[in-house]
Amino acid sequence: MNDNSNHVLMEVQDLKTWFTVNGEKVLALDGVSFQLREGEILGVVGESGCGKSTLGRTILRLEQKTGGSVLYRGKDPFSLAKDDLKSFRRQTSMVFQDPSSSLNPRKRVDQILRQPLRVHSLGEPAEWNDRINSILQETGIAPQYRNRYPHQFSGGQKQRIGVARSLMLDPDFIVMDEAVSALDVSIQAQILNLLLDLKDKRNLTYLFISHDLGVVEFVSDRILVMYLGRIVEEAPTVILTGKPSHPYTQALLKAFPTTDLATRGSSISPLEGDVPSPIHPPSGCHFSPRCPQVMDRCREEYPPLREIENGHRVACWLYQGKTSH
């Protein structure tokens, strides 16, 4: 980890994002609190509908929050005036899952990369060409291809262009929302290496959202595990994977199919049931209907996220007796 890993870049408190779908409330994000430290990669893992993407979008103010607070370098992006908001937009960025749908098919690479510079009037227009060339080079695309359209590139190259776009304004913080999930594994490995190189070189901070535990485990310093709109466990990567405490984290780790033949067959001992709908989440702990260790209390009351050792927080009644350090 970095030397400045103790500087808090973002502080999120009880953040809620609710949507209304067909007149019904969807509690996509329902009270999430955590800190993001400068220079770290914070992984967010969970299955569909757990709120991980909504989390990434809300902290960048791409969704309107319903409650709670976000502080980025001490300022609340939701109450920033126009100029300050523009500065927040310059410092933060995002890479999306599907490069085919997140790049405008009617614009050339050059136009796609030029747009953020124009919107933010960053530097002298005369220097923009050089800037586009150098960032393309940095992300592994030969600058002579800048006049091509997105469809003329392969999936991996398109994602490199998506990464290049996210870097145009020299951000400090990037949300990677399933940034490698749509790629074939051999290409995924290339892009993961690229993201790690860029992070080191530019001293970036990432919120790394993925459903793929193997990917999150490899890149992250710390991991948040989400289930149905809430964080159920948070810990440094080594602790989370070595000593998972929440029954859901344990199930998730077990279900993940690894190529380690020593675990052969073990990842198919299943957790029963489906993920419930975030429209009508189960009462008490949302995981209680599927939890192999469920107790009476779990069906009545949602457990608070509580620190069981340094930097390791769990929302589960199994651990409420233990004192925090």
Binding site: E47, S48, S154, G156, Q157, D184, V185, S186, I187, Q188, A189, Q190, L192, N193, L196, D197, H211, L213, G214, V215, E217, F218, V219, A251, L252, K254, A255, F256, P257, T258, T259, D260, L261, T263, R264, G265, S266, S267, I268, S269, P270, L271, E272, G273, D274, V275
Partner: protein, 336 residues
């Protein structure tokens, strides 16, 4: 080797004749599946794994597809010589299919139970009610909770995992299923649901002795459930063997690269970067007789650009196609 062989694909070549040229999608695939076992065809997009499976069931769009060469024997009969009527006696009867996205394989305007009941009514002379009841029983067998209620629902009312269970039920509705072709059956599912479906397939396999041809890009899934695996790259099989052989004693640089592209590989504990395969898959239209992996391979030498490698056989099951294999056990690799 030949006892109990249920499906045998021999020297299969499939091409697609497109306006932009001939795409040689599968070149010289050999694959055998025995009764009751799980065989994986694994590889990345465009490697030919799905095309090979579709050739078995006669589901290739002809044209543009054309089976150029090869034989496919199911229970000793050459299915490539079948007429459409014979093919219908195979497809959905002896060979069931499950696809990646069950929503697009189920008919959205019919109830789940009716769709499965239809399969029964094709094979048995029974009434609608009896067939529906059999469908409910089958939904119960694939562990759909409240099968009575679910049978009366439409596909959109079921979760992704339940839809995939319904697809499996349909594949089992025939009187004598021998083989299930599962084409990326869990790719669209969450990991805990994937575990459930893989578990279900394994259990059913034990129960009724059906063989499974598993088409997947996920080496983790292969390691967990398959007995044998064939790794494909750009239309060619590059390595084939038992799961132990392919994962622990691999010889082809692509197998090595694929396993090391996975960040979950246990060898990566504490590592800072992945050992990635450089470059991209070649255009299948422009490939000649070279090894298709040559442009990305770290072992490449002159010969690789001119001649596709001969088969090297290591054990009864383990074979690979590479002139300069990676040598986990150096002495074996140099024997040749």
């Amino acid at each position: 080797m030949n006892e109990n062989v249920l499906l045998s694909i021999e020297n299969l070549h499939v091409s697609f004749y497109t306006l932009r040229g001939v795409v040689r999608a599968v070149r010289g695939l050999n694959l055998q599946i025995r009764t009751g076992e799980t065989v994986a065809l694994v590889g990345e997009s465009g490697c030919g794994k799905s095309v090979s499976a579709h050739a078995v069931t006669g589901l290739l769009p002809v044209p543009p597809a054309k089976i150029e060469e090869g034989k496919i024997f199911f229970d000793g009969q050459d299915v490539l010589q079948f007429n459409e009527k014979q093919m219908r006696g195979l497809r959905g009867v002896r060979v069931g299919m499950i696809f990646q996205e069950p929503m697009t394989s189920l008919n959205p305007v019919f109830k789940i139970g009716d769709q499965i009941a239809d399969v029964f009514r094709v094979h048995h002379r029974i009434g609608k009610q009896k067939a529906f009841q059999m469908a409910v029983d089958l939904l119960d067998k694939v562990k759909i909770p409240e099968p009575e209620r679910r049978a009366r629902e439409y596909p959109f009312q079921l979760s992704g995992g339940m839809r995939q269970r319904a697809m499996i039920a349909m594949a089992l509705a025939s009187p004598k299923p021998g083989l299930i072709i599962a084409d990326e059956p869990t790719t669209a599912l969450d990991v805990t649901i994937q575990a459930q479906i893989l578990h279900l397939l394994k259990e059913l396999q034990k129960d009724i002795g059906v063989a499974v041809l598993l088409i997947t890009h996920d080496m983790g899934v292969v390691a967990q459930v398959a007995d044998r695996a064939t790794v494909m790259y750009a239309g060619r099989a590059v390595e084939q063997g038992t799961v132990e052989e392919v994962f622990s004693d691999y010889r082809h640089p692509y197998t090595h690269g694929l396993l090391h592209s996975l960040p979950g590989n246990p060898e990566y504990r504490g590592a800072k970067r992945l050992i990635a395969i450089p470059g991209t898959v070649p255009d299948l239209r422009s490939l000649g007789n070279e090894c298709p992996f040559a442009n990305r391979c770290s072992h490449v030498k002159d010969r690789c650009w001119h001649e596709f490698p001969e088969e090297t056989t290591l054990t009864a099951e383990h074979r690979f196609w590479c002139w300069y294999p990676t040598n986990l056990k150096a002495e074996d690799a140099h024997e040749r």
